[in-house]
Symmetry: C2
Subunit: 272 residues, 2 copies
């Protein structure tokens, strides 16, 4: 029997003893000079980063924008990067997709079938029928944008609804009702640690993908204190730039590995 | 001097005497049998559809999901389809993207620089800094999801905020404030014709991209009556399936041309 997505997240974090997600947001201009003569420097970079961080990492999250910016070549790199990850990590396409039902169905096919990802990030603005096509198979999951890590999260997500709740709370409540197959998760930014306690009460049962640690300045300690469910660790803490661009020298992979290990240890220490 | 995006929409609609946008949402399984032996049936289909409809069409809108579903091959087809359109139509990437600032910047590069599109559809959920990277050049525009054509539009967009407005009205007001370079537009679904009058009052100055006519059952007459600005026609009415799959026989392109012409004439009649 296949595990549902929630069980997959829990068991991967347990097996790896790590709740770290490494964001593979690779800017071609930032590739270390030592790789410049490679046939495909970005792919080689990703492969070396994955090899060096895998021991300390439960999930990888390539953001599609960084691959689409170079068109077909970038998508080839995305595909080969996913292949290189192997089977013992959670592969998250950070795509923030969402469209009318028959179109979301195509996106679900793209990411789950064609690229064999385990999860996709999606935007809730278009409502239930834009999300449900991603939820058909219990072993494939979505992380739905709830409260994001950026300044723009104040524009709509943190506006009050008629019943006094914030929009993001309203969204989370809806998401709970879409979770029959235990394959919904939330994106919640670490830049809002003061809100984590309330969010975990609203959605005690969902896996969280937590960006905003590192370059964006999020608060790790409170994030783990309030955003995590401790017995079955359910949250993944993403770090991109702070890990993958820890060094631009020939030691870039080694340093990325160190940063991933450090983040794993920091999270595990907070969990105790 | 380059035209801003709003002027580009107005002048293209005027030059073409048409407010029709053809949605190139091509399902490989629906390609007419007559093209099955082509080297690239989907690309050949798109090229024949474009050649047959171009006289009656102001804009083309390929939806990325339909291309991404076949991965690299699909993206190649997307790229070649855009090249085939030529310069006298508005090229809209229906991508519904949106991410934190440094990531949206990459998407803007992908669609505006790499693929040379004129406009992208984007989702507002992540707020201002997720949209502004798309607005840097005045001749490149966005159509921001305001009130979409699907059932899910009731889940969040049509929920009331604390001040009594609907979320979509709140979103539209924000968008007005982002429009310094006259390159913002709205996506407003034709399935909500009773709301068009109010929406046009909220945003008298923005180009609209209007899906939902045809297969989704939207109301053309009221859409044109209330959603259009008549002196400078500012709205594009999209139809996908009803045009491109009008016939699955050898006459598929001819029939698509007829349907595009018919829609153009219906809109122009309503405009009188």
């Amino acid at each position: 029997m296949r595990m549902n997505f929630k069980e997959h997240v829990i068991s991967t974090i347990k097996n790896k003893n790590s709740a770290v997600c490494v964001g593979l947001d690779v800017e071609p201009g930032k590739i270390p000079a030592v790789l410049k003569n490679e046939k495909n420097p970005v792919l080689k970079f990703n492969q070396e980063i994955i090899a060096a961080t895998k021991e300390y990492t439960a999930a990888y999250k390539p953001n599609l924008a960084f691959y689409e910016q170079t068109g077909i070549k970038g998508l080839e790199c995305f595909e080969k990067t996913l292949e290189f990850m192997g089977g013992d990590v959670i592969k998250i396409a950070d795509a923030k997709r969402g469209d009318i039902g028959n179109t979301s169905k195509k996106y679900a096919h793209a990411f789950f079938e064609h690229f064999s990802c385990d999860a996709v990030t999606v935007s809730p603005y278009m409502g239930e029928d834009s999300i449900t096509p991603f939820l058909e198979k219990e072993d494939k999951g979505v992380f739905i944008l709830a409260l994001t890590s950026n300044k723009g999260s104040f524009d709509f997500q943190m506006q009050k609804m008629a019943d006094g709740r914030y929009l993001y709370e309203f969204v989370i409540e809806k998401i709970n009702s879409w979770n029959a197959k235990k394959n919904c998760g939330l994106v919640v930014g670490a830049t809002h640690p003061e809100l984590f306690e309330g969010i975990r009460k609203l959605a005690p049962d969902l896996p969280y993908l937590i960006p905003g640690i590192g370059a964006q300045g999020g608060d790790l300690e409170n994030t783990v204190k309030y955003g995590f469910v401790k017995n079955d660790v359910l949250s993944l803490v993403n770090s991109s730039r702070a890990i993958i661009f820890a060094s631009d020298g020939p030691d870039f992979a080694e340093r990325a590995g160190e940063e991933a290990r450090k983040l794993r240890d920091q999270i595990n220490k907070c969990l105790k």
